[in-house]
């Protein structure tokens, strides 16, 4: 298990010096980026998978009504194709297809919200540390080092034993500890950016540090940040799955794909494959989709990589 940052934080990409792209008009860069993104078939496939899964999970229940609150012990472990249950039912009689939609909602909401939260916190932390520099930077980064030294899953489980892991709590827990990666990334960007002439010019005209961070550092690092955010979403979805597998996921009747998959494990030996593979494949698909989108965005918006 890993963090996606590891998958992308390759030495070459870091080593390369950013070419001067300041002359190009901003809108041009964005349009160019969108064009590059649209030519990336894998990225488009990622967007399609993500939209499809999200669409089915959030809009599906409007057309496909199931009872996901009351158990029905008369209809447990029905095979797929049973009347009214195209994907069968689980051990307490919940319709599996309806449950997949419900579980997908949780997984996607937690993934997106935790990813956004982690990215926002990390961006501010990293931008301030990198821009201020000196002992403030050293202190802030040692805090990041210390938290990074604690393997995240151990930290998440520890928190999940202290508070009840409801959906908002899961978002808070994951978001509160997943910001370390973005913080390091943005700090690196800020370190290179603050030496640039236009920031020095702004400061010599009396601009404050806060203005430099808000108006220059964060907007310039935004490409890196957005790319990282997509990987954060993928990670958060996996973390929820791990927490559920370890028995500390959202309590029923709520559901998420990770929890369904973990429950499905118990049914492996009874041959109830429809409880195991659909949530497993759903998780793989959505994590892959996030990675495809992230890869496409990286090619499109991290200008320094465009040459490669």
């Amino acid at each position: 298990m890993t963090t996606s940052a590891d998958m992308t934080g390759t030495p070459g990409e870091r080593a390369e010096q950013p070419p001067d792209a300041d002359d190009a008009p901003v809108r041009g860069l964005w349009r160019q980026g969108v064009e590059v993104f649209c030519e990336d078939r894998l990225a488009l496939v990622g967007v399609a998978i993500f939209l499809l899964l999200a669409g089915v999970c959030f809009l599906g229940p409007l057309f496909y009504h199931t009872d996901q609150v009351h158990t029905d012990l008369a209809a447990v472990f029905l095979s797929p194709g049973a009347p009214g249950h195209p994907l069968g039912t689980d051990g307490v009689g919940y319709d599996q297809l309806g449950r997949l939609m419900l579980g997908g909602q949780t997984s996607i909401i937690v993934g997106l919200a935790a990813g956004v939260l982690a990215t926002a916190v990390g961006t501010v932390w990293g931008a301030v540390a990198g821009f201020v520099g000196g002992w403030v930077d050293a202190a802030m980064m040692r805090v990041v080092d210390a938290m990074m030294a604690i393997p995240s899953l151990f930290l998440f489980m520890l928190m999940a034993t202290i508070v009840t892991p409801t959906v908002p709590m899961l978002i808070l827990i994951i978001g509160a500890f997943a910001w370390l990666g973005p913080a390091r990334l943005v700090r690196g960007e800020a370190l290179t950016l603050r030496a640039r002439e236009y920031i020095q010019a702004m400061r010599s005209m009396g601009g404050t540090g806060g203005r430099a961070v808000r108006r220059h550092i964060v907007p310039n690092a935004i490409g890196t940040v957005i790319v990282n955010a997509t990987f954060q979403v993928a990670d958060a979805i996996l973390y929820v799955a791990y927490l559920s597998f370890l028995g500390l996921g959202v309590p029923p009747p709520a559901a998420n794909w990770g929890g369904m998959l973990a429950d499905g494990l118990a049914d492996t030996y009874s041959g109830h494959w429809w409880l195991l593979y659909p949530p497993g494949i759903a998780i793989i698909l959505i994590v892959l989709a996030c990675n495809f989108i992230g890869g496409g965005l990286r090619d499109a918006f991290e200008v320094r990589l465009r040459r490669r």
């Binding site: 298990m1 030495p11 393997p151 597998f245």
Partner: protein
Amino acid sequence: MVRYLTMRLGQALIVVVLVTVITFVILHVLPGGAARATLGKDATLDQLAAFNHDMGYDQSLVRQYFLYVGRLLHGDLGYSYQLNQSVTEAIGQRLPKTMLLSLLSTLLAVVVAIPLGVIQAVRRNRWPDYTITSLSLLAYATPIFFLGLMMIILFSQVWPILPAEAPQGFTLGEVLSDPAGLILPTITLAIVTIAVYSRYVRSSMIDNLNENYVRTARSKGMPEWRVVLVHTLRNGLFPVITLLGMYLPALFSGALVVESLFNFPGMGRLFWQSALKRDFPILLGVTLIISVATVLGTLVADLLYAAVDPRVRLRGRAS
């Protein structure tokens, strides 16, 4: 080198101190406080007060922190009343086994990932590269327990050649005496690691293959295999040493899941079972030890890197 060493050691020390601050804070936000968390829900108020007094929890926070660190330095991580065992002893019995599992799968991952990464770099943007990249992405996107389960279904049900459960020995020797049981957990933990490592080797090799010294070697008429395997590989593998350190937290998180799935009697499973029982002395003890292990591992990796690559230590800046 001495300067780099001192600086890096100092940093590691600060990080360890900060980790103790974090565990100390968590100890104090526990529901009902540390006393309730240690003694359980049936403890009377008198018992709680006595415990708080014994541990110094009725004193000022700063003083408590120093008492806490003092106990840690004496190897006292607390006492688990649920296991009726000191936390140090409980962890001491399981830590070597977790280290064994982590070491084995890291070794396997390195041995497999380096050739894969080299092949990808040499055949860049051709089918071997695409195939390996796709498989890496797939491995990365699969929850590790699902992957482990697939392995169990494949290799101990459909084609029953390997046991589905990890060795249950109490000591390291007993675990090692059942090597067949170690295979599936090791491979499962290694697969995701391979995905990450090979990707890293790939891009590091690609960077180095574009360097001038490679062009020089080629223009001298050196055979391509020698350029790749002798000249480029040496330089391309240096960054992988740091990756070994950087990847440790993820490796331990993975071990937590793998140990729980395969019922491997290591520190991860201890942590998992303690989490379900809300056995906080153990939880905090494991968290602390696993973090110190991470810091030490990262430190060793960084120092190794500096030892083999003078560019790092001469630049004189870490992180």
